[in-house]
C-alpha cells in the first residue's frame, strides 16, 4: 500500500515538474507580416498549435528552442492563440499582432454622376490598409482634392480615425469629368465623377410657320444657370392652349435645343417648361 502511494506521489511530482518546466513566451510587440519568434522553455519534444486570423498551424517543436514564425504565418492582424502541448500538460498563451503602417487606400467616392453646384453632393471615404490588408490605425492625414478642368480645385486634409478618413465636397460649377483624388504620401487613388449641368435656366423659345397649318417651336440653346449646356435627352414640354383645347408635346433636347410642331391655332398661347423651370410664353396670331 505504502509502495503504491509512493509511486503515485512520484508520478504526480514528475507531471508537475514537466508542467512547470515547459513554457511559452510571445513577443510583447508583434507586427503583421513581420517574422517573429516564440520562446519556449523546458526540455524534450512538444507540439505547438497556433491559431490566428487566416492561419492554423500544428508543428513539432523542441522545448528550449525558439519557434520561428514566417511573415506569411502572421500576416493577419489580431489575437493569436498558441498552445504548447507536451506529455499531458498544455500551456496556452495569446498574443496580439498589430497592423503595419498604412500603405493601401481603399476609396469610396459617391456618387459617380452629379449635377453641378450642389451643396455637399460628393462624399469620399478612405479606408487605410497595410500591405497585408489589415485595417491600419496609425495616425495619418489624408489629402482629398476635387478638380474639374477650367475651374479651381477644392482640397482639404483630414486626419484618419480608426483607420477611416472622410470628407464632403460641393460639386463644382463647371460640368465635365471631375478628378476626385485621395492621397497619403506617395500613395494616391483617383476616381472620376461626372459633373452634369443642373436644371435649365432662362428657358426661351421662338416660333416659325410650318407646313399644314402648323407652327414650329424651337428653344434657344438650353443651359443651366452656370452656363453649362443641359444634356441631350432632357425633356422640354411645350403646351398650347386656345381656351378650349390644350395640346402638349414632350420634346427631347437634341444638340442643345428642343424642337416640336404644334397646330397653328389662332390666338392660342404656347408655353414651355422643363422640370420645375418655366420658359417664356408666345401668343399665336398676336403679340407676345
Amino acid at each position: 500500500m505504502m509502495r503504491r502511494i509512493g509511486k503515485l506521489c512520484f508520478m504526480i511530482c514528475v507531471s508537475c515538474a514537466i508542467a512547470v518546466g515547459q513554457d511559452l513566451k510571445a513577443p510583447d510587440h508583434a507586427v503583421a507580416g513581420a517574422a517573429l519568434k516564440l520562446e519556449t522553455s523546458g526540455s524534450g519534444d512538444a507540439t505547438l498549435y497556433l491559431l490566428g486570423p487566416g492561419s492554423a498551424i500544428k508543428r513539432s517543436v523542441k522545448l528550449g528552442e525558439p519557434v520561428e514564425l514566417k511573415p506569411e504565418e502572421v500576416s493577419g492582424s489580431g489575437v493569436y492563440t498558441a498552445v504548447l502541448k507536451s506529455g499531458g500538460a498544455n500551456v496556452t498563451r495569446t498574443f496580439y499582432v498589430a497592423p503595419a503602417a498604412p500603405s493601401n487606400l481603399v476609396f469610396l467616392a459617391r456618387p459617380s454622376r452629379v449635377a453641378v453646384g450642389q451643396k455637399d453632393a460628393l462624399s469620399g471615404v478612405i479606408f487605410l490598409f497595410d500591405a497585408n490588408k489589415n485595417l491600419s490605425f496609425a495616425p495619418a492625414d489624408i489629402h482629398f482634392e476635387l478638380a474639374v478642368s477650367g475651374a479651381a480645385a477644392a482640397a482639404r486634409s483630414v486626419a484618419a480615425h480608426n483607420g477611416i478618413a472622410w470628407t464632403r465636397f460641393d460639386s463644382a460649377r463647371r460640368e465635365g469629368a471631375a478628378q476626385f483624388v485621395a492621397s497619403l504620401g506617395e500613395t494616391s487613388v483617383r476616381r472620376v465623377v461626372q459633373l452634369t449641368a443642373s436644371e435649365p435656366c432662362n428657358l426661351r423659345f421662338r416660333t416659325a410657320p410650318a407646313k399644314d397649318h402648323n407652327v414650329v417651336v424651337e428653344t434657344d440653346p438650353v443651359r443651366d444657370c452656370a452656363g453649362n449646356p443641359v444634356p441631350d435627352g432632357t425633356i422640354v414640354t411645350f403646351i398650347e392652349n386656345d381656351g378650349k383645347t390644350r395640346s402638349t408635346i414632350d420634346a427631347r433636347i437634341k444638340r442643345g435645343v428642343a424642337r416640336a410642331e404644334l397646330p397653328a391655332t389662332p390666338n392660342a398661347t404656347i408655353s414651355a417648361a422643363s422640370g420645375v423651370v418655366l420658359g417664356n410664353e408666345i401668343r399665336l396670331g398676336g403679340g407676345r
Binding site: 487566416g54 492561419s55 492554423a56 500544428k58 489575437v79 492563440t81 498552445v83 496556452t92 471615404v125
Partner: protein, 188 residues
C-alpha cells in the same frame, strides 16, 4: 341519409383540395411577386445587442439597424459552423472580400493540420461608430463573450472563456450586409 352527407362531404373536400392546388406557389403560370422572393436567413441563434447612436456622419436607419443585427448574427453563425466543421462552402453567405479570404484560409489550414475550432457564443455588444455618408459601409466595434475550444481531431487542446473585442467593417452586398473585415483587437 348518412350516405348522402358523406358524399357531399367528399365532393366538398375534393373541390377545396382542387382550389388549394391551383393557388399553390408551384404553379408555373403565377407571375413572380415580392412575396415569392427568397427570404433571408434569420434563424441565427447568436445574440447581438446593437447601439447605433455613436455612428457618424450618418444616423443609422431603423431598417438598417435590423438588417445589421440579422446579418452580423448570421455571419457569426456561418463562421462558427465553418471553423467547427472545416467547411468553407457557406462562408460567402456572411463574409466578403478580405474577411472571406481570411476565413477560407483558416478553414483550409485547419483541414491540413487536422484541427478544428469550436465557439460557444454568449452574445455580442455591437456599436456602430462610422456609417458612410452614402450609406454603403459601416464600421462597428464588437465586444463578444465566447468560449473558444481548439480541437486536434476530437481532443480538446485548449478551452477558454474570453471577452474579445473586434473592429468590423460591413458593406452592402447584393441582398444583405456582409462582413468585409473582422479584426480582433488586444484585450483591454
Amino acid at each position: 341519409m348518412k350516405r348522402i352527407v358523406m358524399m357531399i362531404t367528399i365532393v366538398l373536400a375534393i373541390l377545396v383540395a382542387g382550389v388549394a392546388l391551383k393557388a399553390s406557389p408551384t404553379d408555373d403560370k403565377q407571375p413572380p411577386t415580392a412575396i415569392a422572393l427568397p427570404s433571408l436567413p434569420s434563424n441565427s441563434s447568436v445574440k447581438v445587442e446593437f447601439d447605433g447612436s455613436p455612428a457618424t456622419p450618418r444616423a443609422v436607419e431603423d431598417t438598417t439597424e435590423r438588417a445589421i443585427v440579422r446579418d452580423y448574427s448570421n455571419a457569426w453563425s456561418v463562421m462558427a459552423s465553418a471553423l467547427e466543421n472545416n467547411r468553407a462552402d457557406n462562408i460567402a453567405a456572411g463574409f466578403t472580400g478580405n474577411a472571406q479570404e481570411r476565413l477560407a484560409g483558416r478553414v483550409r489550414e485547419q483541414q491540413r493540420a487536422g484541427l478544428r475550432t469550436r465557439y460557444v457564443d454568449h452574445g455580442h455588444k455591437l456599436q456602430a461608430v462610422f456609417y458612410s455618408p452614402e450609406g454603403s459601409a459601416m464600421q462597428l466595434h464588437d465586444t463578444a463573450k465566447l468560449e473558444e475550444q481548439i480541437l486536434d481531431g476530437d481532443a480538446v487542446v485548449s478551452s477558454r472563456d474570453i471577452t474579445a473585442s473586434y473592429v468590423v467593417l460591413m458593406t452592402v452586398g447584393e441582398d444583405r450586409w456582409k462582413v468585409r473585415l473582422l479584426q480582433e483587437l488586444p484585450s483591454k
